[in-house]
């Protein structure tokens, strides 16, 4: 059974139709990449899944539950969360407070302790900087905090929107390494990326979006060869 299945998803902002009826499935344990040029509708898709923007039509089912019109706050407790584009950490909160907010819905003491241990183990730098305001962190550290904050709710499905955006190559490598580690820890991942080569290297499968539609899909191996990938980027420019 797929962990997430999406059927005819449509997202609109007023007259703008950002996502034009797409469908896909994510299976447990996978890393799935979403590729495509700027404005293709990738963020709109993830934001709609997470409930940040309303679904105009279509159906989203997570782990057997219809979440199409769920408010965003209901999803983290169900085991699905989004690390949004641009990190959007709470800059006026300390690192520790950011992480504490990530675990907002967790009430089980043992689960909470495990989440702290896991995040500080993955990101020792966050432990070092725990009482610092998050706004004072470097870009790479902020991205780690954004991912760490998402992990505090112990998600089974994590949606990552452009985690490597604007980061130095060395940090980008760390982020991709982290994605692999998370998969090994049993997290299913959907990753939106501009860095196509690296994304296809780590992903099992991928979807290519253009103009609000999925124009190509397949295994990472297939996609890295397909001409259609280039077409999707060039076509939308």
């Amino acid at each position: 059974m797929p962990l997430l299945s999406v059927d005819s998803l449509q997202v609109r902002y007023g007259a703008v139709e950002a996502v034009r009826g797409i469908g896909f499935e994510i299976h447990p344990g996978e890393i799935v990449a979403f590729l495509g040029a700027n404005g293709a509708g990738k963020s709109s898709t993830l934001n709609a899944l997470a409930g940040l923007v309303p679904v105009a039509s279509g159906r989203v089912v997570f782990d057997g539950t219809d979440i199409t019109h769920h408010a965003p706050e209901r999803l983290a407790p169900m085991g699905m969360t989004l690390t949004p584009e641009g990190r959007r950490i709470f800059g006026t909160l300390t690192v520790e407070e950011n992480l504490r907010m990530g675990a907002y819905g967790v009430s089980d003491r043992a689960e909470m302790d495990a989440a702290w241990a896991r995040v500080y183990e993955l990101f020792p730098i966050l432990f070092e900087r725990r009482s610092q305001y998050a706004g004072t962190l470097s870009g790479g550290q902020q991205q780690m905090l954004a991912v760490g904050r998402s992990l505090m709710s112990n998600p089974r499905l994590l949606l990552l929107d452009e985690p490597s955006l604007g980061l130095a190559p060395k940090i980008v490598e760390q982020i991709f390494e982290l994605i692999g580690v998370l998969r090994d820890q049993g997290v299913t991942l959907v990753v939106v990326e501009q860095n196509v080569a690296m994304a296809l290297e780590i992903a099992d499968r991928g979807y290519v979006m253009s103009g609000g539609r999925i124009v190509s899909s397949g295994t990472a191996g297939d996609l890295s060869q397909a001409d259609r990938l280039q077409a999707a980027y060039l076509g939308a420019e």
Partner: protein, 297 residues
């Protein structure tokens, strides 16, 4: 010198009350972008509870918490009934809604209670005063200062150490992402209103204890002052609200005390001019909100 110290005490008392009111406005504004002009009517409600308690002979130690609770409950109901339906509307829509709420409440007070000012029975000790050296200081002033300090400490603890308080700061910075964390929008907003009701209730007790009367329009002047204080401090910034409240209190009290008699008539306009000049130098307020309000999904 004694006169100066005495006026400083008065300024602290008045500024503290403004600060509490401005904080109430700021807490709600920072989270939902609403300037709640009906905040003053929360004060009026608390004032009427004090009045009725006085008539019924309820002891002051009981009537004060009752009045504060009434203001909190009223604030939460206000959000439920009036502001929730327009939550996703523009700032202007919400602002006009708050005017409507204020006016409806004023009319209700006028028709069901009294259009005139009513006396509030207060314990005698509040109108006492004592002498330190050459200063004469009213007990009510000291009570106001102490109450303000207690509230500021409480608020600081709540916003920095309680999970709900931290969630309110997170929501003030990025509401959508706060919801992603599982922070319920309704809970934070209701919490913000409850907090603003608490602050308005305490401010009302202090306000009434300086005047011993309550009338249907009682809340208007202080909330207008609080609004000015909040702008002066930096709208949406909690530290700013405190700074703005005290600054305004000092400006008003010092002008009243030290302006020559022939200029006293122009006290309020002169005070506002000082505020405007301060804003010219610090357009974002004395302690600007560190959160730049960007339009985010």
């Amino acid at each position: 010198m004694d006169l100066f110290l005495q006026q400083t005490t008065n300024a602290l008392a008045l500024g503290g009350t403004y600060a509490l009111l401005a904080l109430g406005l700021a807490v709600v504004f920072s989270i939902m972008g609403l300037i709640n002009f009906a905040h003053g009517e929360l004060m009026t409600i608390a004032g009427y509870v004090l009045m009725y308690c006085g008539i019924a002979g309820v002891p002051f130690v009981v009537s004060v918490p009752l009045a504060i609770c009434a203001s909190m409950v009223a604030a939460v109901l206000m959000e439920r009934i009036a502001f929730r339906p327009v939550r996703n509307g523009s700032g202007a829509t919400m602002l006009i809604t708050s005017f409507a709420v204020a006016m409806i409440l004023q009319v209700l007070f006028q028709n069901f209670i009294s259009a005139r000012s009513q006396a509030v029975l207060l314990p005698a000790f509040l109108s006492d005063s004592f002498k330190i050296g050459g200063m004469v200081i009213g007990v009510n002033k000291i009570v106001a200062i102490v109450a303000t300090v207690v509230m500021l400490i409480f608020l600081d603890r709540f916003m920095n150490h309680q999970k709900t308080g931290i969630a309110m700061r997170a929501a003030a910075e990025d509401f959508a992402v706060a919801r992603l964390m599982g922070i319920r929008a309704n809970t934070v907003i209701a919490g913000a209103f409850a907090l603003s009701g608490l602050l308005a209730g305490v401010a009302a007790v202090l306000w009434v204890s300086q005047r011993a009367s309550v009338d249907p329009l009682m809340g208007f002047t202080p909330v207008l002052k609080a609004f000015i204080a909040a702008i002066l401090g930096g709208l949406g910034s909690l530290r700013g609200a405190v700074a703005g409240g005290f600054t305004l209190g000092f400006i008003e009290v010092y002008l009243a005390a030290f302006l020559p008699p022939e200029l006293q008539e122009f006290r309020d306009p002169i005070g506002l001019c000082i505020v405007v000049v301060l804003l010219l130098f610090r357009p974002n307020g004395l302690v600007p909100s560190s959160v730049l309000k960007a339009v985010k999904v």
